[in-house]
Amino acid sequence: MKYYRSHILIGINETSIAAGVQGFILALRKELGKVGLSDEINLLETGPLGFFGKGICLTVYPENIHYENVKIEDVQELVEEHFLKGRPVPRLILEASSKFQPQFNYKKRIVLRNSGLIDPESIDAYLGTGGYEAWEKALLNMQPQQIVEEVKASGLRGRGGAGFPVGLKWSFTAPLEAKQKYVVVNADEGEPGTFKDRLIMEGDPHQLLEGTMICARAIGATKAYIYIRGEYKLCIMRLQKAIDQCRAYGIIGENIFDSGFDLDIEIKIGAGAYVCGEETALIESLEGNRGHPRWKPPFPGVKGLWQAPTVVNNVETLANVPYIIANGADEFKKHGTPECSGTKVYTILGDVAYPGLCEVDMGTPLRTIINDYAGGMKKGFKFKAALVGGAAGVILSDRLLDVNMDLVSLDEYSAVLGSGAILVMNEHQSIVDILWSILRFFRHESCGQCAPCKNGTQLLYRLINKIKKGEGTMDDVDMMITVAETMQYTSFCALGQSPIMAVRSAIENFRDEFIAITKE
């Protein structure tokens, strides 16, 4: 193996591509060649680096220096100063990295263990980290029943929002006799503020594929689909590349590793509908229909895609599976709380000092996440509220800053963990305003199939609009709770059942603000 003095990791994502990262890399390679450093310095194009800098971002190892907003014009200076003379360029250094580095704590990571460290477009890089060993183990040394039991024992729960126990879900489908079964990966990430799945797929597509394969083996499916939203161009490209590499290596295909097991994985692209994140709506969409959720039961595990037994799992959920199979359920349970094991990937946004991506143990309180992983509040701002879990989430006040963030603890406060989005708001931001934005979102995204949701989302928007304009009364405010509660009890799917969480938490936690803006 070649030995390099330094490694430059370049984050390739939607933002850096827009900033011209491809041209930048060419220029950097050329400049390194010019000064004769091509053999000493390794240039690695990778996924998300774990912080959201502006423009093109770099991380340099072993110095562990993070640069942001680097431009083509800076290449010469960067090479000359940093790589030739060993003096990092202060004006380009990411401000956050000089103060704290906990975001880069790779030891505790499961899902993101390779993200930002390996080339996501190279299967060899993934194999080098022990990749596909769990798949080999699951295929050759374990019976499907054992895989299901191991996942059950791990206590892994779905990471898409509902938190259903994964092993249990698989155990419904595994014993069914059917000509064809399917695994569907739900990568139709649409919850506002959530993009962990995008970063998981951009940073380490092979880990998701490995999890998908293990799931297919456990339930006896020979075909898997990844349903991904059309906007995620880079994910689609990287996943397709990863699938092609697996086919070429014989990791998927027919009679894999002479086990007699066949599996094929295919990408399916969505067309823009939030409701398709609901598993039965997603299945309808895959079949070429409008994305209207189906009546349950029968659940997809029994009758799903083309009426065949189908397991639908979220990206993050499946990305946990290789670790569980490779290291065992007990190792996995060392992370998180007894009822809620493992880690959770969050995207922290809004008025924090350093917005970013982090993976922490389940049960880590919101205060720790904000302070230790996002550098606290932005300078000069005070914490007022956090929208946790996207539009289908709750607005938490500072009263709940120390609650453990896991499914069980949050449930006691009628709060949810949701999809992993944390949107932090400062004291100047209006709760009425943010609720207006959330309800406008629901009004747009209701699929219109069932009356409570179709009419309810319209009515909620009309009420909040009136209140926002200062024309509402406290009766209107309380009416919103009544409407949202009715929707919760009568709506067909989770979309219509969700607005109550934002509505109730906003009004209960910040009632004064509603009193101030309404008429007598």
């Binding site: 933002t15 827009a18 503020g193 993009f195 067309a271 994305g291 943010i434 934005s437």
Partner: protein, 151 residues
């Protein structure tokens, strides 16, 4: 053209979404015409109303002609609190159109959309396939001007 695109896919219903995507991308005005619907209906042996139903359900399809560049500004909460309303106002002034309209020269269509999943760089918009983040009123002006200049 429509037949050619259709024939790349097996004539099964689950390919409808892909065929529509490809037809719309091939159309300079980024929409799906009545003729296209008839051709797809014929190929997939599906009633036209099913195709219209699907087209109008998903936000990425349009039944009316649009501009050469489709601007989709995110209006979800993370972009909203970072000032997407100001960006929208600015875009309206620069382009002289309301949401859903196309500029007279057929260059731009202004649309709003739900979360694009690039919230780390809010406020965000997409123009055709490209994502633009960390938008400010000045930056928006530059972007539009540079696209106009490219023509």
């Amino acid at each position: 053209m429509y037949k050619e695109i259709c024939s790349k896919y097996a004539p099964t219903k689950d390919n409808l979404i892909y065929i529509l995507h490809e037809i719309q991308d091939a159309e300079p005005q980024h929409y799906i015409s009545k003729e296209a619907v008839l051709a797809v209906s014929d190929y997939l042996k599906l009633p036209e109303n099913h195709i219209y139903g699907v087209m109008t359900f998903y936000s990425m399809y349009s039944t009316t002609p649009r501009g050469k560049h489709i601007i989709r500004l995110c209006e979800s909460p993370p972009c909203y609190i970072k000032g997407s309303e100001n960006i929208l106002r600015k875009l309206g002034i620069i382009l002289g159109v309301e949401v859903g309209e196309t500029t007279k020269d057929g260059m731009f269509t202004l649309e709003l959309c739900a979360c694009l999943g690039v919230c780390g760089n809010a406020p965000v918009m997409m123009i055709n396939e490209d994502v633009y983040g960390d938008l400010s009123e000045e930056k928006v002006e530059e972007i539009i001007e540079s696209i106009r200049g490219r023509q």
